[in-house]
Symmetry: C2
Amino acid sequence: MAETIAVIPGDGIGQEVIPAAIDVLETLDVDFEFVEGEAGDDVLDSRGEALPEATYELAAGADATLFGAAGETAADVILPLREAVGSFANIRPARAYPGVDSLQPETDLVFVRENTEGVYSGIEHEIADGVTTLTRVITDEASRKIAEYGFEYAEANGYDDVTVAHKANVMRTTDGQFLESVESVAEAGGHGYDEALMDALAMHLLLRPEEYGVVICPNLAGDVLSDLAAGLVGGLGLLPSANVGEDNALFEPVHGSAPDIAGEGIANPAATVFSAAMLLEHLGYGGAADRVRGAVEAVLEGGPRTPDLGGEASTDEVTAAIVDRL
Amino acid sequence: MAETIAVIPGDGIGQEVIPAAIDVLETLDVDFEFVEGEAGDDVLDSRGEALPEATYELAAGADATLFGAAGETAADVILPLREAVGSFANIRPARAYPGVDSLQPETDLVFVRENTEGVYSGIEHEIADGVTTLTRVITDEASRKIAEYGFEYAEANGYDDVTVAHKANVMRTTDGQFLESVESVAEAGGHGYDEALMDALAMHLLLRPEEYGVVICPNLAGDVLSDLAAGLVGGLGLLPSANVGEDNALFEPVHGSAPDIAGEGIANPAATVFSAAMLLEHLGYGGAADRVRGAVEAVLEGGPRTPDLGGEASTDEVTAAIVDRL
Ligand SMILES: CC(C)[C@H](C(=O)O)[C@@H](O)C(=O)O
Ligand SMILES: CC(C)[C@H](C(=O)O)[C@@H](O)C(=O)O
């Protein structure tokens, strides 16, 4: 039976990198049915909502979703879509690749970010004139889930170092809960790990990324630290991500809609093609996933490159080179 | 009349770098009276509280305070001390210096961090078993104060670029309030600035720090981004900070108590001596502040260096070299 993939290009370069990833997926010997959904700034303008109900349902019902990028409406699109697929974990690998300029060529990190709570709770109020509050929520349930996912991911993918980011010296009760939940999961499973204050960790990741592997994070810490890691390996053009739920998942490049280069046909498709590889892996096509990753890495090392990596190639040229190597 | 300086060495290398800074201050032609207060892990053990009331009062009543570092009890010591001096702004310059290895030698940043609210509100609860909350507070009053301070600092110190960090796409009401307050201060004063999402900013600071100058931040964003900047310029050993209030202020290195090297006499005194320079500036001794900074920079460029900077010199040798150049 065909795998039904919801495809949501969104805004800006999302419209360029998603077709690239589909070209790559169609080269493989897997039976996909791609169903396109619309979302983003233009959809808000034309239809009055950035994420139509139909797109939400499409993602919720598909075997997996591939998302491109959204512009101004990014939060209104991606946060509900993560919810649509029941995602509790956001997986963000950040690796340096041979042939790509990077501040720290030894970087090989995977952020396992809690994807449902923390300061993303949506509970905000203006209590009095000029006095506003947001309720940061940390629960044992969500913290255990992310910890379990993180430890299993590390084991399955051969990472020896697991670090748990937190700011429990200040957020004593909430990040205290996070650490307590992680600890009980680690004990039950016999997993080892280190704790690190997120501020100090930001510095250490910069100076000695090779000492870290999987980093389990509360929601906002994962958001910030994974972007920092993008800086370490040469920018957002290479970073894929997976939003994983119990039986569903959504895959997206970490980069945004890049309005400055949108429409020029020079967006780097690597992050989205790597995201497609994560999708393959998730659906059980591990061999195909490896082939796709290998092809992208070969092109990064010796093939044409887009301007963000110092080259002059177009999205299409890079995509063709990836397909060629499959 | 003598300037009364509260001196709180605290734990670990705090006990080594504070005497170094005092040596430097005593070389100058300023009449200081140093009064020592105790705080930190050892004080908790011996007296049952990490920050005795007397130390709090000492800081509150002094003309300025110089603080070293605290260990496990850092939050219990530094957060109340910041309150003791009525600090609303935490100023953290992060500059690369000639002669010091750094990932990005063009870095010259100053973080102007809100110092009283955000997730540092202290309002936390366990709502139900395994369900915890923290109330993030953002007020117009505190946001305006930090914006005013930041814009004035940029002007007084010749920084053209002012960036305001936030995550208002997710924390819509609270960081929305922050942005609104900043905007109204900017309009009233005719100041220009850019806004930046804190996650994207983490990446951009890494890749192109030379495009940024003063960065005005909510409390936690400032905490994390300034540590990241420490990574850019070669580690925490060089970064000073000022906690500024209406008529009082506390100065401290950004680094911690460094238990791994404490007692060995090899801690880098630069961050604390730079903090002492900020203290001099604050008390109106701008000329002396410049001389101290110049002496530290000369030593960083051509003098003895501690192991964190790849040298073999002791704290005392580096301090003597600084004093020599005054
Ligand atoms: C667009 C925004 C809501 C989102 C987030 O904060 O999660 C983005 O920064 C990301 O990391 O995917
Ligand atoms: C010790 C801790 C409470 C403190 C903070 O979070 O402000 C520290 O990280 C700092 O940046 O001075």
